[in-house]
């Protein structure tokens, strides 16, 4: 198939066939990460700017390493150290950066739709590294990649996602991705953290964690997003942990070979107990490892093809 995207803004716009193509491409790039010399010349001469308006360790480092292993020149801009603190608008910041002719801008921003806004206004490719509560496509893809690695397939699996659903861009991208790839997705969280109409995306809503986790093949835990007012929607963190935290007891309800995923950062003792987070069923560090391969695939796909020649 021919899949030659200019931008990667969300999972919603992609077809199942395209998602599988991205995962297969990532599979080929994964091998590079275990070599002694972890570098291929694929994106030599391309400039990638990582523009991060929100805190990030994993995603930013992962995109940076992905770009470097493909031989691109990667530049990181953290908003706290940029002109944004001097009052510059997003559009002005982006236009100034675009004037230096990068090939790809990887952006994380607190406003939903910020990446789409840039993609409409700039000539270079834009890759969404998380925008507000909208989407986080590379995270959903690395989750799907990790599930496929451990389960051999995605089609027909039951995946439970538990946590602060309203404020999670990870969950939205994951629902789009997993439903398109044929998984059954169950969602659970406190009522105050479940947005109305979520079932319209093709997932099943559960009122408690037990119903969601029962006989699941994969359990994905999300943290409470304290920076997005998540904390005011529950009486206390302790109560949240008691009713919605994943401990060994609850994990036993899932299939015996179920895997536990977490996009990070984890709040141990809140949404996940240490025994589960470090237990034999966790694949959390596989997710991080696979993230580099998935991001290499995304950068390669937006950089390749004829579209960059046209600019």
């Amino acid at each position: 198939m021919t899949f030659n995207p200019k931008h990667i803004l969300g999972i919603k716009e992609l077809t199942a066939e395209e998602l599988i193509f991205i995962l297969d491409t990532a599979e080929s790039f994964k091998e590079i990460n275990s070599r002694e010399i972890k570098k291929v010349p694929t994106l030599r001469g391309k400039t990638i700017i990582n523009l991060f308006f929100e805190a990030s360790t994993r995603t930013r480092t992962s995109f940076e390493i992905a770009g470097k292993r493909l031989s691109a020149d990667t530049v990181n801009i953290a908003a706290a150290a940029s002109s944004v603190v001097k009052g510059e608008t997003l559009e002005d910041t982006a236009k100034n950066i675009a004037a230096m002719h990068p090939d790809i801008i990887v952006m994380r921003h607190g406003a939903s739709g910020a990446c789409n806004y840039l993609a409409e206004r700039l000539n270079c490719s834009v890759v969404n590294a998380g925008d507000g509560t909208h989407e986080h496509p590379s995270q959903a893809l690395l989750d799907a990649f990790t599930i496929r690695q451990h389960k051999g397939r995605i089609d027909g699996l039951t995946v439970a996602i538990v946590g602060d659903i309203t404020h999670s861009r990870v969950v939205r991208s994951n629902i789009y991705c997993l439903v398109k790839l044929g998984a059954k997705v169950r969602i659970a969280g406190p009522r105050t953290m479940l947005p109305p109409g979520l079932e319209l995306l093709g997932c099943e809503l559960c009122s408690n964690i037990e119903d969601a986790v029962r006989d699941a093949d994969c359990v994905m835990m999300l943290r409470i997003q304290r920076e997005r007012q998540g904390a005011t929607l529950i009486p206390s963190v302790r109560e949240y942990a008691r009713f919605f935290g994943l401990n060994e007891e609850r994990l036993k309800l899932a299939k015996p070979d179920a895997i536990v995923l977490h996009p990070g950062p984890m709040n141990r003792g809140v949404e996940i107990s240490s025994a589960v987070a470090d237990g034999p069923q966790n694949v959390i560090l596989d997710q991080v490892e696979n993230g580099v391969a998935v991001r290499m695939a995304l950068l390669y796909l937006v950089a390749g093809g004829e579209k960059l020649q046209a600019d």
Partner: protein, 178 residues
Amino acid sequence: MAAEKIEILDTEGINRALTRIAHEILEKNKGVEDLVLVGIRTGGDYLAAQLQQKISEIEGQIVPLGTIDITMYRDDLGSRNDLAVGQTDIRFPVTDRCVVLIDDVLFTGRTIRAALDAVIDLGRPRNIQLAILIDRGHRELPIRPDYIGRNLPTSRNEQIEVEFDPQHHAQAVSLIRT
């Protein structure tokens, strides 16, 4: 105008060419010590497996076999629309080995240039040799094969097609004129 297809080699002819190449590889390398075979996807990897079989029939030893995908090393990223990347699968160190690269058709030499870079990124071989089933000419780079199944002068608008059966054995080589 309908395409004209002329068969250049049949299964027997391919078999004889591969048998001869297997003998030549053994002769030049004085046996199988430190010898490894690396086939270039797709086509070269199938031929490499056939050569591995022939070498084991002659010498009674199975030489290591790997496959390499050169997409990440190509020089035409911006002008290609098929972006599929295959997997490289080389499970042995190449450092200090004699690597025989294998491809089905040698044309401009750009694929081989990419394959040389890809192999060298994995280690420092003692030497790299090149085995080709069909050399059709039109080199754009200074690349020369060590083992050739058949030299076949072509014009640029002709195509060479190598067909494989479902077991990945080369069945026929044809010249296609359009």
